[in-house]
């Protein structure tokens, strides 16, 4: 027998007794106090992220005046590095700031969902030193539960929630941003063009 057949046969032979039905998932309420964007922003900041009033060009100039390599996948920002034209993802290692649009955001945790189509080259969101994320205010969902009822997870090859920047406290609990990925994550509320 192949390993596959052996494993499946053992699992069927050892099936635990009992019914073990699959439960339905209730919808749990979350009170955002009538201000969903406000809740999103508070949670984002608690997770180490930042908000900027925008627009994106103004934010870039204000937050990253010394940035030389800007990789943008959004029409709002021209940038000077074509994310889709690199031969290998490593060619994006010198990017100072990446500008992308989130598929949606989640107020409960302050998360933004970045998907492969929006990133063009997935690695740009991790190799860049800083990340600027545009979110349409109409795309802010209330709960993580609502997020997982969205179709993106069944359609994209890659979807990633980013909640603040890369972080570690592996050295005696000292929180450090920019462990391996981006050193900062800034969200701008901007309706889709």
């Amino acid at each position: 027998m192949s390993a596959r057949e052996t494993i499946l046969a053992a699992l069927r032979a050892n099936r635990p007794a009992g019914e073990h039905g699959l439960p339905d998932l209730p919808d749990f309420a979350l009170d955002d106090g009538g201000d969903r964007i406000g809740l999103f922003s508070r949670m984002l900041e608690r997770m180490g992220g930042r908000r900027h009033a925008g627009p994106a060009d103004t934010a870039l100039a204000a937050l990253f005046p010394d940035a030389r390599v800007i990789a943008s996948t959004v029409p709002e920002v021209a940038g000077n590095r074509d994310v889709g034209a690199v031969a290998h993802p490593r060619d994006l290692a010198d990017v100072d700031v990446a500008v992308v649009r989130a598929a949606f955001a989640v107020a409960e945790t302050g998360s933004v969902l970045l998907v492969d189509d929006g990133l063009v080259t997935n690695a740009v969101a991790y190799l860049a030193q800083h990340l600027l994320v545009l979110v349409d205010p109409a795309d802010v969902l209330l709960t993580m539960q609502a997020a997982y009822r969205r179709p993106e997870f069944a359609h994209h090859r890659y979807c990633a929630f980013h909640t603040g920047p890369s972080a570690t406290a592996d050295i005696q609990g000292v929180l450090i941003h920019g462990a391996q990925g981006v050193r900062s994550l800034t969200v701008i509320m901007a309706p889709r063009a």
């Binding site: 390993a3 053992a10 993802p89 609990g173």
Partner: protein, 523 residues
């Protein structure tokens, strides 16, 4: 669940006030408030004078691990023991803070438990569904019966592609299979990309905790390891300096790696996709920079539906670190354009565990580490004292399934206070299974005479549920400071060592014959 002690600012207080730092070097938010997301400590802890790091249990072939001996050496290193205790109890308190903010917390735990039990009871079907969907997405799916098969499959994939360097994110499964060592012998360089895991790799030491692998180390230990291996300044203990050095030294290795390997926190049958959670984004670098991505996945990681993630993702990081979510929660459904993706589904004893009536629900574990953070024995002895891949309460019930003799002493490294079961997000009855393993090991004579005497004592208390429940009820608040707890709790079979309580009125075997191990209603 008891309320933890909080100070005027609302954050948890220190159990060792002398650790409080005058200055704070952690990150701050835009309003100037101290940030405590990810595994950050609630309060700044001052650097301590260097102290030789206590090492883990001494392996003696197949002879039982002497946890007591290793734990004693850990306790005798007071700087390490104190910081370790403080750090992990703080994670537990952060977890409680998150729990109290979610009214449906207990419902979520119940749902998570039921979803996992359902999946495990139909695991063969869900694995077939996962495989079919993953293949349709362009993923190569492999099956490994045991650790050796897993390592050979990974090596085969790497050899086919001429890969000389593999970058990887943290994966307890590959620790379980000894993959790094195996690939090293085969001439493939393996680079850990999680900071804590990299520290442990460079120190040639196993991870001591499944979520925070280097949490037993002081910053001076990290400075020593990096000075020896990365050439950094041995006298610079600044955490920012050390982390930045590691980032700069690892980045070139990531850029030129031939392949990346990740584990998976969840695998979704409905979509053939898998989910990886990290705080550093290192799994995303490992998966998205090299052209080849391999994911090693234990078969118990399956869940049926994407919507189920709405339960598990809400529980995982809150339980593990007291942070609402990990910084990165990444969903992989297929290879990126021009890339190649392989999934290795690994059994390695899991299908056999499914057939153990008393222990199969341990397969529900989502590897959050909450049981470790709350365990007074784990906090005071350090993860390496268990001498096994999995330490702490969950380790006590997993390890004997891998090697019944070598890990026969581990189920005794517990006070049976039940706190592990109380915090478990998937409601595994961990402390009952720990006791179940003591019984099972005693019956097959896998434990020594001293441990058998302990069994009788524990049996006496467990045979009187009112006393047992009273012990558990008081344990949670008493847990905060171990010495009080140790003195007060008659269930402690660990710290009292060989000093045995009075002879039981009823022997364990008599009790077992009478009750069959079931709780006696109304007793």
């Amino acid at each position: 669940m008891s309320e933890q002690r909080r100070e005027a600012d609302g954050a948890p207080g220190l159990i060792n006030p002398e650790l409080r730092a005058e200055t704070d070097e952690g990150e701050r938010g835009p309003d100037g408030a101290r940030l405590t997301h990810a595994e950050a400590s609630s309060r700044p802890l001052r650097p301590l004078p260097p102290e030789p790091q206590p090492r883990g249990a001494r392996l003696r072939g197949n002879r039982p691990i002497d946890h007591d001996e290793a734990a004693r050496r850990f306790i005798e290193a007071p700087e390490h023991a104190t910081v370790h205790d403080e750090r992990l109890w703080d994670l537990r308190q952060k977890r409680d803070g998150q729990m109290h903010a979610i009214p449906e917390w207990e419902e979520l735990r119940e749902l998570a438990s039921r979803i996992k039990q359902h999946t495990l009871a139909h695991l063969a079907d869900y694995l077939e569904q996962f495989e079919a969907n993953a293949k349709a997405n362009g993923v190569h799916v492999h099956w490994a019966e045991d650790a050796g098969a897993h390592n050979r499959i990974v090596h085969g994939i790497l050899a086919d592609h001429g890969v000389k360097r593999l970058i990887k994110s943290k994966s307890m499964l590959t620790e379980e299979t000894g993959m790094r060592e195996f690939l090293g012998h085969a001439g493939i360089e393996v680079v850990e990309t999680d900071l804590g895991e990299r520290i442990q790799q460079l120190d040639d030491e196993a991870p001591s905790h499944i979520v925070v692998p280097a949490t037993h180390k002081l910053r001076s230990d990290v400075a020593r390891v990096f000075a020896d291996t990365l050439g950094t300044d041995p006298d610079n203990w600044d955490a920012h300096y050390l982390a930045e050095q590691q980032r700069e030294k690892t980045r070139p290795l990531i850029l030129d790696a031939g392949a990346g390997l990740t584990g998976a926190n969840f695998a979704v049958a409905e979509t053939g996709s898998f989910v990886v959670c990290t705080n550093e984004g290192n799994a995303d670098l490992s998966a998205n920079v090299p052209p080849l991505h391999i994911a090693s996945i234990g078969i118990e990681k399956l869940i049926p539906r994407v919507a189920d993630l709405g339960v598990f993702i809400r529980l995982l990081s809150r339980s593990a670190l007291g942070s609402p979510i990990t910084q990165y929660t990444s969903h992989f459904r297929g290879p990126r354009k021009g890339g190649e993706m392989h999934v290795v589904l690994v059994d390695n004893g899991r299908s056999a565990r499914l057939g153990m009536a008393e222990f199969w629900t341990s397969l529900k574990c989502i590897r959050c580490g909450a049981c470790m953070n709350t365990c007074p024995v784990y906090r005071r002895s350090g993860g390496l004292s268990y001498g096994a891949t999995y330490s702490g309460p969950i380790g006590l019930i997993l390890d004997p399934t891998f090697n019944r003799r070598r890990y026969s002493s581990l189920p005794f490294a517990s006070t049976l206070n039940g706190s592990c079961s109380n915090v478990c997000p998937v409601k595994i009855n961990i402390h009952e299974q720990i006791f179940g393993w003591r019984k099972a090991l005693a019956e097959t004579h896998d434990i020594g005479a001293g441990k058998r005497a302990m069994m009788k004592a524990a049996g006496q208390v467990l045979s009187r549920p009112a006393l047992f429940r009273a012990a558990i009820a008081t344990a949670d608040s008493a847990l905060r400071i171990l010495p009080d707890f140790v003195v007060a709790n008659p269930l402690n079979t660990w710290t009292k060592g060989r000093a045995m309580p009075d002879a039981p009125r009823e022997t364990f075997h008599q009790w077992w014959a009478r009750t069959g191990g079931k709780t006696e209603p109304g007793a």
